[in-house]
């Protein structure tokens, strides 16, 4: 397993923080803020783990997840979903659509790091 994480999130300061934490832990981090470009970027860059926000401009995180799960190539790609809408409905939806993990904002840095490590099987 490689060490490439793609962060798809439109809140620039969250992206910056996550990038810093993961880089200090030795991960190779790339970022994207537009949901519309997510699928193409994932196909081109082939990340090992994707951190995906639910509410994105261009295309919703759920739609992106559904497209990834429908494609044989990305069916098993580890995806960590982020949401700001609490635990209830979004968590159920994320599980139903096949998210590997789910995390509600505001999360702690340690949680993010532990999740990425677990998803990458480190």
């Amino acid at each position: 397993m490689g060490n490439h994480v793609l962060v798809i999130e439109d809140e620039p300061n969250i992206v910056e923080a996550i990038r810093f934490i993961l880089m200090r832990d030795g991960w190779d981090v790339s970022t994207l803020s537009d949901g519309g470009l997510a699928e193409d970027t994932i196909r081109a860059r082939r990340p090992d783990v994707v951190i995906l926000d639910v509410m994105l401009p261009g295309r919703s995180g759920f739609e992106i997840l559904a497209a990834l799960r429908a494609d044989a190539e990305t069916q098993t790609l580890p995806v960590l979903m982020l949401t700001a809408k609490g635990q209830g409905r979004d968590r159920a939806e994320a599980e139903r659509m096949g998210a590997s993990q789910f995390m509600a904002k505001p999360f702690s840095n340690a949680e993010i790091l532990a999740s990425v490590r677990a998803l990458a099987g480190v």
Binding site: N13, E16, A17, F20, I21, A84, K105, P106, F107, I112
Partner: protein, 434 residues
């Protein structure tokens, strides 16, 4: 409610007015004097047979003696009993309750009405929480910023050696996020404050507010008649602006605009003699005035001193206008009795439906009903096709002929075996009667 509004009290009042002794009346009616005494003090329920005999002895009819016992208070108490859940209130002793503890009965009914309003209010509020896009977006934004702040602050606090360039960047981010949080929180508070002030979602259904307002106007809107002083008209419109919710004000505005154009087509000064000439036939009256039949129904509802009820429903059967008539209780919430000729008419547009009905109740009362349905084509050929049905309700006590047995609403209707029943009645009367 005064004691005399109850059947027992009326019996006593009538007996005293005739100067008769309790023992004599009791003997003539075939009951014991002590039983009559209990009846007169509203301590015993009167069966329709005994009531008929007493009415005979007292030279009056049962309906006159029973009037009022089927009033709003009794209906609300029955409705409260219907929703009692585990408790088993003594429905058959409601009159007893009203007679002996009028204050408690009024309190109970008032609380039941308030509970209904609060349930609607809660439903409206939770609906708003779940579906308000602004609230949802604002919270998402706040949580996102909180998330960024938490991560950034943790990095600054926990990372021992941090590159000065990164540190400066994180400090700047924190500062910017703190500003965003402050603005976002303020905007959210302002939004919640404002919405609390301007709307009272579902505190009372807008329809109910409008109805209460019309009751306050005594169902007479003289200021809308052609030739009325313009100041009177503006005063009326200004008065309707005092309704609590925006929805009710809008409803009142639309309703008044309609009422004004109805009044122009069918002025009250002409309608009253026309009714005296032709009788209460909305179709004939519409022909005379060259007006819409529905407009005639609406005008009759506003006729001064008219002892008549009018209900109008849309294609879904939902009542959009209701002028109640004593003895013919209209359901306060939810759907009405499906046997009402109103709904027969709804299924047969443009065909007049006339029926003699008997409203369920301890002393069933007769009414003559005239119902009519007309399609509404506000969208023209492009549709959609809608419908509106109206029913005129006229007292018909003592009018002979076969009647259709109807009720108010299944939940509080005591008719044990009814082909149209959609849910069991929760009245214990339905069990004892069966």
């Amino acid at each position: 409610m005064p004691r005399l509004a109850l059947t027992g009290g009326r019996v006593r009042e009538r007996r005293l007015a005739l100067g008769q002794r309790q023992a004599d009346v009791a003997r003539a009616a075939g009951i014991s004097a002590s039983y009559l005494n209990l009846i007169e003090h509203n301590r015993r329920r009167i069966s329709p047979e005994v009531l008929a005999r007493l009415a005979d002895v007292l030279g009056t009819d049962s309906a006159a003696l029973a009037q009022g016992s089927e009033g709003i208070l009794a209906m609300d108490l029955r409705d409260a009993a219907a929703g009692a859940g585990g408790a088993r209130p003594e429905v058959e002793r409601i009159e007893d309750l009203i007679g002996r503890f009028p204050g408690w009965a009024e309190l109970l009914a008032g609380q039941h009405r308030r509970l209904g309003r609060m349930e609607r209010s809660v439903a409206a509020l939770s609906d708003r929480m779940a579906h308000d896009p602004h609230l949802s977006a604002a919270l998402h934004e706040l949580l996102s910023v909180v998330s960024a702040v938490r991560s950034t602050a943790a990095i600054l606090a926990e990372t021992e050696e941090i590159d000065p360039v990164w540190r400066a960047r994180f400090h700047a981010n924190l500062h910017a996020d703190a500003e965003r949080l402050a603005t976002g929180a303020e905007a959210l508070v302002a939004y919640l404050d404002e919405s609390g002030d301007t709307e009272e979602p579902g505190i009372a259904a807008p329809q109910e507010e409008l109805e209460a307002w019309l009751v306050g106007q005594n169902w007479t809107l003289a200021a809308l008649e052609p030739g009325a002083a313009p100041e009177a008209r503006s005063a009326l419109l200004a008065g309707s602006g005092g309704l609590a919710s925006g929805a009710a004000r809008q409803l009142a505005r639309d309703w008044l605009a309609q009422a004004a154009s109805d009044a122009a087509a069918i002025p009250m000064v002409d309608l009253i003699p026309a009714v005296a000439r032709t009788g209460l036939d909305p179709v004939l009256l519409a022909r005379q005035f060259g007006a819409d039949v529905m407009a005639v129904f609406r005008r009759l509802a506003l006729m001064p001193g008219g002892t008549l009820g009018v209900v109008i429903c849309d294609a879904s059967g939902t009542m959009i206008f209701r002028k109640p008539l004593d003895g013919f209780p209209l359901p306060r919430f939810g759907a009405a009795c499906p046997l009402w000729p109103l709904y027969t008419a709804l299924g047969r547009p443009m065909s007049p439906v006339q029926a003699l009905v008997e409203m369920s109740g301890r002393t069933p009362r007769r009414f003559r009903t005239l119902a009519f349905c007309r399609p509404r084509l506000t969208g023209g050929f492009a549709g959609p096709q809608m419908a509106e049905a109206a029913m005129l309700i006229l007292p018909a006590d003592g009018v002979p002929g076969e009647t259709l047995a109807v009720g108010t609403s299944c939940r509080i209707c005591p008719r044990p075996a009814c082909a149209a029943r959609r849910e069991p009645s929760l009245l214990s009367e339905s069990q004892t009667a069966a």
